[in-house]
């Protein structure tokens, strides 16, 4: 069914259809409406979820960890400082291999305080052990919330999954979203069968063990194996979901007019949509430009992305956060795929911090800038200097 809805509503709809056992959330701009919609569903008896209103995001993630270890299917949502407060416990969730799904309404981090979009919150959780997916539109946020559930719970993966959607740009903007019938979503995600539920008194297990130098390393290596299993599971889930919804989700990234492209932009989130419109305009003028939009950021599909970019002459990797003291994190990810072998020229663009708008003209500037570029250059897009 096609409806006009905000990104919030799209995420809340996916959650309503999944109907997890537990939702523990604390409101924060620009995520609050997700929590509000869901609280309304619970209040009106539309879902049977246990909604836990907590006093902070630290408690929200702690409640999620407890509920997930107990054997519940769990979803949460946050943004910015809320994620910062959660991060301590997010590492625990990943280390305990708990399949908690989180919608992250991307917002800048303080200081200075700002409520608008950038990806510094997602970057903060980069090494947490959570899988991270970026959505371009409210539609993709809806679709990936549903796919994330399967990915998190995959027996070989069992990790938290974060679905990123740009704050305000996607959360507060009304767009056309096609939703699936409730039954189709319920069938797709299926019943959750937790392998070692804490509350199964007939099969007692220990959660949250102490691990000394003799075992910690091995447990962390095992956690990495969950990440290593994620790409294959991701592709399988995409395939099954695409057959269900009719929208083409295929691969760790979307390649847009990339095949014969000489100059390419690599970007995550809603800016990819604007970049597609610019690629179309420049293609009409005969310019060989293309776009690579990253869906799956963690685990990072560096070999596949390197293969897709191998034929390009110059690539601009756009980071919507500063990794202070070095080039952008996405830039380094992409370049790592070419370690020890020749590749295109790579330039890093930092853009859109604190909600700085990214009009089509700025994207066109990036493509123009790639005509003269040197690998390792750090440029700032749309900055007043």
């Amino acid at each position: 069914m096609r409806k006009v809805m905000t990104g919030h509503k799209a995420v809340a709809e996916a959650m309503r259809q999944i109907e997890p056992d537990v939702v523990a959330v604390y409101p924060i701009t620009p995520q609050s409406e997700i929590a509000e919609y869901y609280a309304e569903y619970v209040h009106n008896g539309i879902v049977k979820t246990e909604l836990i209103p907590v006093e902070s995001e630290h408690s929200a993630m702690s409640a999620c960890v407890g509920a997930s270890a107990a054997g519940a299917r769990v979803i949460t949502a946050t943004a910015s400082q809320g994620l910062a407060l959660m991060v301590e416990v997010l590492y625990v969730a990943a280390g305990l291999r708990l399949p908690i799904v989180m919608a992250l309404a991307n917002r800048s981090l303080s200081a200075p305080i700002n409520i608008h979009c950038d990806h510094s919150d997602a970057y903060l959780a980069r090494d947490s052990g959570a899988i991270q997916i970026f959505a371009e539109s409210a539609q993709e946020a809806y679709d990936y919330m549903i796919m994330a559930q399967k990915l998190a719970e995959n027996a070989k993966v069992r990790l938290p999954v974060i679905v990123n959607l740009d704050g305000f740009t996607l959360t507060h903007s009304s767009q056309v979203v096609e939703t699936l019938p409730d039954e189709a979503v319920k069938d797709f995600v299926g019943e959750y069968d937790p392998p070692y539920p804490l509350l199964d008194v007939d099969r007692p297990v220990t959660w949250g063990v102490f691990a000394m130098p003799d075992y910690y390393f091995e447990l962390k290596r095992a956690q990495q194996a969950g990440m290593e299993a994620a790409p294959e599971a991701f592709l399988e889930i995409q395939k099954a979901y695409s057959e269900l919804c009719g929208r083409p989700y295929k691969g760790f990234f979307e390649a847009y007019k990339l095949d014969d492209a000489e100059r390419v932009i690599v970007v995550m989130g809603s800016t990819a949509g604007t970049a597609k419109a610019v690629v179309d305009e420049l293609r009409d003028k005969g310019e060989r430009v293309g776009l690579l939009k990253v869906w799956l950021w963690r685990p990072f599909p560096r070999a596949e992305i390197a293969e897709a970019l191998a034929g390009a002459k110059a690539v601009a990797v756009m980071d919507r956060a500063i990794s202070f003291g070095n080039l952008g994190a996405l830039y380094l990810d992409v370049v790592s795929g070419f370690a020890g072998r020749p590749g295109p020229t790579f330039v890093n663009y930092i853009y859109g911090l604190g909600g700085r708008d990214v009009p089509m003209e700025h994207i066109a500037e990036v493509f123009e800038g790639l005509k003269e570029a040197e690998t390792g250059e750090l440029r700032y897009l749309g900055l007043r200097e």
Partner: protein, 188 residues
């Protein structure tokens, strides 16, 4: 692609009508985006809201810089805000005012089409008090949307939160706004 910018004050329902317009346009089978501009939100402060309408999928997620239509729900904003900023010269400026088209042209310097009508008076006469709905009617007329489709959507949306009697008053206000702008099409 048609881009619209709404100017109102907090509490006047600029954001609400921009979203209702999106639903109307979807009902026509078109693609649409509607989004407000978020600053410090408080009653009475100038607010802007936007719509993007297209036959094709809309992928752009940036702000709107060169609108085809500008709608001014509160005419005091003509003095305090640059309401015609970026408005395409062949676009349409729709103002809720008791002043004439010539006076609005003098006040704004806008060379293109101007639709000036008293939406506040229409809303008062209809008994709703909200000029945003007649302004929505004017935009629907300028877009060349079938008014029946718009009224159907408006009736359905308003029925969720208003009594049938108030819904009918709003539809009357909508129709009066539509009639005030009928015959002016965007870009033509």
């Amino acid at each position: 692609m048609v881009e619209i910018r709404w100017h109102g004050r907090g509490g006047q329902g600029a954001k609400t009508v921009s979203q209702i317009l999106a639903q109307i346009v979807l009902r026509e089978g078109k693609h649409v985006q509607a989004f407000p501009e978020y600053g410090p939100e408080r009653s009475g402060a100038p607010v802007r809201a936007y719509d993007r309408i297209s036959e094709d999928e809309i992928r752009v997620h940036s702000g709107v810089y060169h609108p085809d239509i500008v709608v001014v729900i509160d005419e005091t904003l003509l003095e305090s805000e640059n309401t015609t900023e970026g408005l395409k010269p062949d676009g349409v400026l729709i103002v809720n005012t008791s002043r004439s088209e010539e006076e609005i042209r003098k006040a704004t310097g806008f060379p293109g089409k101007i639709i000036a009508f008293d939406a506040t008076k229409i809303a008062q006469e209809a008994g709703t008090g909200f000029p945003n709905v007649p302004m929505l009617g004017a935009v629907v007329a300028v877009l060349g949307t079938e008014p029946g489709i718009a009224e159907e959507e408006l009736r359905e949306t308003l029925s969720h939160r208003l009594s049938p009697e108030v819904v009918e008053k709003n539809l009357k206000a909508f129709r009066a706004g539509y009639d005030a702008a009928k015959g002016v099409y965007v870009g033509g």
